[in-house]
């Protein structure tokens, strides 16, 4: 069971208190109607499934009810950092920058 540090509560809490909300840093297009079907499809359906570093969103549902970001290793489950919505990760995979 993961031990997550909520950047709002400033505490480590048990995984039971959180909901996983999938990949982080997906920005809703400003003008969806201007996108091609392919672009909209990419936004809607395509997600990363990396072996290693992953930035993901968690929701402190039984705590402060805030969403925040987590940088987690999907192989070892090591958590490198947690940070607030709107902030950028400090730990990134080198190959990640496209």
């Amino acid at each position: 069971m993961l031990h997550l540090f909520c950047p709002y509560c400033q505490e480590h809490r048990e995984e039971d208190e959180f909901h996983y909300r999938g990949q982080a840093h997906i920005v809703r297009p400003k003008d969806p109607d201007a996108l091609s079907d392919k672009e909209w499809g990419d936004y809607l359906f395509f997600r990363k499934n990396p072996k290693g570093i992953h930035h993901e969103m968690w929701y402190h549902v039984s705590g402060c009810r805030r969403f925040f970001n987590v940088t987690r290793n999907t192989v070892t489950y090591d958590i490198y950092e947690t940070y607030k919505i709107g902030e950028m990760p400090a730990v990134t995979d080198k190959e990640e920058t496209e």
Binding site: M1, H3, D31, D33, Y59, R65, R66, F67, I79
Partner: protein
């Protein structure tokens, strides 16, 4: 029966406390301090079970969690526990136990004749034989399971209580042997919070068997002192009888403490077992090592035991499990069994040592006792059925793979073997770390630590007591320091222990036989699953090269013992057969749980009514008293319907429906989700998350809204009312309330944090009752005099603040029945009072309470959808013919809008919402029935849709159904067929989904 194998003196048992117990219907006596296994051995019980596949007689082999044979059904009735290892079960007065394997009984077994039929059951036998015809597998399985016997689960609820503790500590020590105790002590001295757990009844580990002097005195003295000191420290928790069953992510461990299992079958008071959920900053694994047997012909006959177990039974339990002993060993530690046996006054025939020589201290001691030592020899075969009566001893070559001379027969009743020590790497495996082979240790040791984890003692292959204690102190201090306590220096005096001279151990696994492996009598590797050396060789010959595949094909390590004794031998045999090294072949890994765990301990208090919270409305007790039956909706208990004496369910529904249509009905709607939304941008926020427009909704007005996911599919619906220009109350489906709130928060927090909007769940704050029917206004008028109820003053889709039965509340004129309808909301504390007042007011109109089932029928008559019943996450508003609910000119591209333009979403051939009338008006379609155009077509038929809702409607006077049918809207009047699983085909006509009052006049009166 007397305890013929019990010594007059010694052991950690209390001879003043005799205990009666039974095994397989026979009654015996043992002493407090015994395990069931030691007591059985004391009474000379040889056979404790039958083997899984060949049904051979089996006896006690080990003395701890590694035991593969002595697995019993403990107790009877509600409190029985299957698959308990007799070696770990402490004896109590009145203990009842039975073998789990063996049918009809352990001493006479029908199945053994199957085993005697020779090579009838090679590995993969079940796969190969019982695969075809597939239909018969259930029959085979039943027979095989009955014959093998795997223990029986209790059939009645467990009367005992169990609980869970959440624990936090700085240093968690697994294992209470000398290394673990030293580590815990050193860590505790720094002030760190320490937990130390050990699966045995008392701390001490190997010290309970091997009394090597510490500080010049007895080891048991040092043991008693250090345990007493640890127990006295406030920052230390000592947990004996506690198995750490799993080691999970982020240093989370689960340990199961058996609190009363040593006292009786039922907990007299308190909890029977407790699971400790431990989050540790640092973990020290001091789990020790388990002795590995040598594999030789007929090594499964009762009387063949681990050497360390023989020594343990003598030293700890004062039980000598036989009269004439032969030891077969590849190291010094095997000698201990012979030394203790001899000191107990019984006869040691000799020690066959596979090595050419050893200068170890134990070897010298054995020789000094006058015991025969045969270097370069091994036991190659045991003879016997229910007990060993002789052993074959032969000279073998230095490589240990060939018999080099004449085989001699020696009479004996016990063969003790030692092939070395396998570190207990299980917990380290749980973290995902693969163990690595060590030539020096002759065993797998924990792989690279993936978490804040340390290992110490014989888990690393350090078997010298001096190293265990010395390193224990060091690692304890180091771990504490890593957790923020101390500088890593040992703040205590290490005890002085002498190093014992030790001869080098030999890597011997399978003892050679005169005959090749395939011809020799069975040489067992995994005793619990009857896997033999020949079976493993056959698997490799059949092409299984990966050790993981060999494991699955032969079922090696699949038993409840997870192959604790056999796995390393099996890997060594597979490696040799593949002409590879053990390092190359590698190992399989272990998963939780280390030993079988009871469901009770895992569930704790979260059972029965505490398994999941149950939510009740403020009027719940009234519903109970008025005969309601309840339905679970999420965690809510909602009235389902209110049967009167003698009524069938359908009669109740007909009565409730007609009462509402003809006079007035009342529904407890408190469970609908209610979210209070405030802020100057609340209106804009609603515009973005709902399909329809909210810009012009005036204060005092309500509007129905549809919420979509970004893929354009319906997610939730409900009525939202404008309380003030910056204040709304939004309702959700009962089951969707929590998800909708999370969904709204997600968008607000991650995409539109600039919007000034706040959301609060107020579901529990309000009691909601819906009065519906032509007389609804008359009822409301009797309890409310400060709202103008005139139909033009308080219109459909308006809401008003007012006083109902003297209580301040809100009344919403909205309708889910199609009738004149008011939804009264009052603070929950006053809910029951107002409900009763409304019931009293409605008495003259025969006001009828109705439940969720009637609510479903009434809304279906009107064609109103229920999200999650008529929709399933794959339908758009247009599919549901609800385009009227989609705002066409909204400025912001609301959630899901763009997806309407996806080719798949806008194609014509989508399933569409329609009504169905069965040809036979009394026949009610089953919900979920699949629709086809042509029932005569070949199977698999082309399915064109399915029934989403289906009822008998009293007011329409026939069955009605709602469905989604491919292009259904353009097929009105067409016939569609529903072939059912029972062979019937129901014929129905596609029609409009509104069955009653199609113009919607009744709600506007």
């Amino acid at each position: 029966m007397s305890q013929k194998n019990r010594l007059a003196q010694g052991g950690r048992i209390d001879r003043n406390k005799a205990l009666n117990f039974s095994f397989a219907g026979q009654h015996y006596k043992g002493y407090e301090g015994d395990t069931l296994a030691s007591a059985l051995l004391a009474n000379g019980v040889d056979v404790v079970g039958r083997s899984f596949k060949y049904s051979r007689a089996r006896g006690i082999t080990g003395h701890g969690s590694e035991e593969p044979n002595g697995v019993v059904q403990l107790g009877t009735g509600d409190t029985t526990v299957p698959n308990v290892r007799a070696t770990q079960q402490e004896l109590y007065s009145g203990l009842v136990s039975n073998p789990v394997a063996g049918w009809p009984n352990v001493n006479f077994d029908l199945m053994s004749y199957l085993g005697k039929a020779g090579a009838l059951m090679p590995p993969g036998f079940y796969y190969k034989t019982f695969m075809y015809p597939q239909k018969l597998w259930m029959t085979y399985e039943h027979f095989i399971r009955k014959a093998a016997g795997l223990g029986k689960a209790p059939t009645a609820p467990d009367p005992d209580t169990y609980d869970k503790f959440n624990q936090h500590c700085d240093v968690m020590v697994v294992g209470g042997g000398p290394a673990g105790l030293s580590a815990a002590y050193a860590a505790a001295k720094t002030g760190a919070r320490v937990i130390i757990a050990d699966e045995q009844s008392e701390m001490g580990g190997h010290l309970l068997t091997f009394d090597q002097p510490i500080n010049g005195g007895s080891a048991s003295l040092w043991l008693a002192e250090i345990v007493a000191e640890l127990e006295a420290m406030e920052n230390v928790k000592v947990l004996p009888k506690t198995t750490v069953m799993g080691y999970f992510d982020h240093n989370f461990l689960v340990a199961i403490e058996r609190r009363t299992d040593h006292l009786g079958e039922r907990a007299v008071s308190g909890t029977r077992q407790r699971s400790h959920r431990i989050r540790a900053k640092q973990v020290i694994l001091a789990a020790g090592a388990q002795e590995r047997p040598l594999v030789f012909a007929n090594n499964d006959v009762p009387g063949v035991m681990l050497a360390s177990s023989v020594a343990t039974y003598i030293k700890r339990y004062a039980v000598v499990p036989g009269h004439d002993l032969i030891v077969s060993t590849a190291n010094d530690s095997g000698y201990l069994a012979a030394i203790e046996w001899s000191k107990a006054g019984r006869h040691v025939v000799g020690i066959a040592d596979s090595r050419t020589h050893s200068d170890g201290a134990l070897v010298a001691e054995a020789k000094a006792l006058g015991i025969n030592v045969w270097f370069g020899h091994a036991v190659t075969e045991a003879k016997g059925g229910h007990r060993v009566y002789s052993a074959s001893v032969a000279p073998i070559n230095e490589q240990g793979d060939k018999v080099t001379g004449d085989v001699k027969q020696y009479d004996c009743d016990t063969v003790a073997t030692s092939g070395g020590w396998s570190p207990v790497v299980h917990l380290s495996c749980h973290t995902g770390s693969r163990p690595t082979w060590s030539e020096e240790v002759i065993g797998f040791v924990p792989g690279k630590a993936l978490q804040a984890q340390h290992c110490v003692g014989s888990i690393l292959g350090d078997h010298q007591l001096v190293d265990c204690i010395d390193h224990g102190f060091d690692v304890g201090a180091k771990a504490a320091s890593a957790a923020g306590f101390g500088q890593g220096e040992v703040l205590a005096n290490k005890p002085s222990v002498e190093r014992i001279a030790e001869g080098k151990a030999q890597a011997l696994f399978l003892v050679p036989h005169k005959k090749p492996v395939s011809r020799a009598p069975k040489q067992f590797v995994d005793l619990q699953n009857d896997v033999t050396a020949a079976g493993i060789e056959l698997a490799t010959r059949e092409g299984f090269e990966s050790i993981e595949h060999v494991k699955r094909y032969t079922a090696m390590g699949f038993g409840t013992d997870q192959g604790k004794l056999g796995n390393v031998n099996g890997m060594a045999i597979a490696a040799r057969s593949l002409s590879k090294s053990i390092e190359e072949t590698g190992t399989t890994i272990f998963r939780p749980s280390y030993t079988p765990s009871t469901f009770g301990a895992l569930a704790g208090r979260d059972a029965e009514s505490l398994f999941d919270p149950e939510r009740y409305t403020a009027m719940h007790q009234w519903h109970v008293e008025n005969g309601a039956l309840f339905e679970d909706v999420g965690q809510w208990k909602r009235p389902w319907y209110y049967p009167k004496p003698g009524e069938t369910m359908q009669e109740s529904l007909n009565r409730e429906c007609l009462a509402t249509r003809n006079s007035v009905g009342i529904l407890d709607a408190s469970t609908l989700g209610k979210i209070d939304i405030q802020g100057k941008d609340a209106r804009e926020f609603l515009n973005r998350v709902y399909t329809n427009a909210w810009s012009k909704l005036a204060v005092g007005k309500c509007r129905y809204g549809l919420m979509l996911k970004e893929d354009g599919m319906i997610m939730d619906d409900g009525v939202t009312s404008c309380l003030a220009d910056d204040h709304f109350i939004l309702t959700t489906t009962t089951g969707g309330a929590a998800n909708v709130l999370e969904w709204l928060e997600l968008w607000h927090q991650t995409e539109w944090p600039e919007l000034d909007v706040f959301m609060t769940s107020v579901t529990d704050h309000w009691s909601t009752m819906t009065i519906s029917g032509p007389n609804a206004r008359k009822v409301l008028a009797k309890v409310c005099d400060d709202i103008d109820l005139d139909k033009d003053a308080f219109k459909f889709m308006d809401w008003r603040e007012g006083t109902i039965a003297g209580v301040k509340g809100r009344v919403f004129r909205i309708s889910f029945t199609g009738e004149l309808s008011y939804e009264i909301n009052v603070p929950a504390n006053d809910g029951l009072f107002v409900w009763e007042a409304v019931m009293a007011a409605g008495k003259e109109f025969d006001i009828t309470p109705y439940g969720t089932e009637t609510m479903h029928v009434l809304r279906a008559e009107k064609g109103f959808i229920i999200v999650g019943q008529d929709t399933d996450g794959s339908v758009t508003p247009y599919d549901m013919d609800m385009g009227w609910c989609v705002g066409k000119n909204k400025e912001f591209s609301f959630i899901g809008k763009r997806s309407f333009d996806r080719p798949d979403t806008k194609k014509a051939a989508r399933k569409q919402y329609v009504g169905l009338k069965t040809k036979n008006p009394d026949e009610v379609l089953p919900e979920g029935a699949q629709a086809v155009w042509d029932p005569e077509q070949a199977i698999p038929m082309t399915m064109v849709g399915h029934v989403t809702s289906s009822y008998y409607s009293a007011v329409v006077g026939r069955s009605i159904a709602l469905a989604v049918i491919k292009e259904g809207q353009s097929h009105k009047g067409d016939t569609v067929y529903f072939p059912l699983a029972d062979g019937r085909v129901i014929e129905a006509e596609i029609c409009d989904y509104v069955f009653y009052d199609p113009k919607g006049e009744r709600q506007n009166v």
